[in-house]
Amino acid sequence: MEPLEKDRALLDAFRRGEPRALTSVFEQYAPRVAKLLRHGFAFESGGRSCRYRGAHSQFDLEDRLHDVFVRAFSERARAGYDGLKPYDRYVAGIARNLIIDDFRKKQHALVDYQFLDEVPATVDDSAGIAPTMPQDAEAAVADEQLRNLVSQFKDALDERERTVYDLRFDQGLQHKDIATKTGLSESKIKTSEQRIRKRFFVFMKKHGYFTGYKKSVSGGWLQTLGIL
């Protein structure tokens, strides 16, 4: 796919705010911005070195990505893009500014609080069972269960579903590219994908994946160097 600054027809449609153009631009640039938001970056603020550690969960990542592109797709931002500079740098700049703005808002709140020393955890052995395993081992067990379930699910797919699975789920191809490769229509591919997804989540529910797990995501803050 050509970069936005080189595709005049797409750029014009994008500037007009046409939904198909916005979707196309999003699909092209979102992965790069997502990587930036996921892995974080260093920045300067008020003369101090700071670091945004990156999104703390997939929900946080999706939410921030949404906010970046809502800003990037606003009428003002679309009109403000000159169509000459590479668009990926333009939207990355929007992402960085959003993070820094957020940091500055929170900076004032942070100085009102301080972290106390943590109370040492006590081991709960009331059930007569050995203390919980190290977090890595617990996560390894959970990961193994998940992979096994996915493998079982894949094995039960029929031939056409398997083709769609390999191209869409494994290789991450767009629907139109799968249509080109397979001769299937895009709508058949989308329907197939939708059916596989729905069956997958029902399969996972049936195998107990969505019950009996620890729900809370524990807290964290932006890490700054030399601020607190």
């Binding site: 939410d63 906010d67 081992a137 767009q174 195998h207 807290g219």
Partner: protein
């Protein structure tokens, strides 16, 4: 339907088939403020990531599509209400998996003890023991205890499945002389569990004699039925 069930249901629908723009926006507004619901979201996201198999990408194609729908819908309406809790960090993701692991499926002995004289095989009840071994280089390895040997320092993690009635589960580990090496307190278990994790783990101690061991799981259901399942392993000679 309780409020929690309603949100869980919405998250399920979001991942299975998608939500409309208003419902999606309201759901995201809620999750930003609720770490428990964020945990549910992460569970579904983890399953989706496993389905799409993209460990190196920040987001898989399904997640990209999901965000795209919200972004384009917002751009089309061209109105944004001020969000409360924008960018509020609600937690850190749990620790990432370290090291490689293997899993081998194993056949287990299956015994059923029932009141009366008739023995019935009840495949719903099962137990499986995983061996967790931390190698010298701090690599964590997870594999099946029944097709591998145990040594002091290993941990065993038990997975159990249950039938249609809730009850209590007790686990005992015995050696070939029926000496009890480990006994758990009874744990309440729910009905229709599938490979649920028994809390905690069993440490293989230095005084476990080399030779075969049995991990005996006794299920006593609420209606008084008693079922015994056994997984086997072997303790290595020192």
């Amino acid at each position: 339907m309780s409020a929690q069930h309603h949100v869980d249901d919405q998250i399920a629908r979001l991942f299975e088939s998608g939500l409309g723009p208003k419902e999606s926006a309201a759901l995201f507004d809620h999750i930003r403020e609720c770490s428990s619901c964020e945990g549910v979201y992460e569970r579904y996201a983890a399953a989706e990531r496993a389905l799409y198999g993209d460990p190196d990408d920040a987001l898989n194609v399904a997640a990209i599509d999901r965000v795209a729908r919200r972004v384009v819908a917002d751009a089309e309406t061209s109105t944004r209400t001020t969000k409360t809790g924008w960018w509020v960090p609600v937690g850190l993701l749990a620790a990432a998996v370290a090291g490689a692991f293997l899993v081998a499926r194993v056949e287990m002995d299956d015994q059923l003890t029932k009141r009366g004289t008739e023995e019935v095989v009840d495949a719903a009840y099962a137990v499986r023991a995983l061996r967790i071994r931390t190698a010298p280089a701090e690599e964590v390895r997870v594999d099946d205890a029944s097709s591998n040997t145990l040594r002091a320092g290993d941990q065993m993690k038990l997975l159990y499945s249950t039938g249609a009635t809730p009850g209590r589960l007790t686990v005992t580990v015995v050696d070939e002389d029926q000496r009890v090496l480990y006994r758990s307190e009874p744990v309440e278990v729910r009905a229709n569990e599938v490979e649920a994790k028994l809390p905690g783990s069993i440490s293989v101690a230095t005084d476990w004699r080399a030779g075969p061991v049995e991990i005996v799981a006794t299920f006593v259901s609420a209606d008084g039925e008693r079922r015994v399942r056994v997984a086997k392993s072997t303790v290595e000679a020192p």
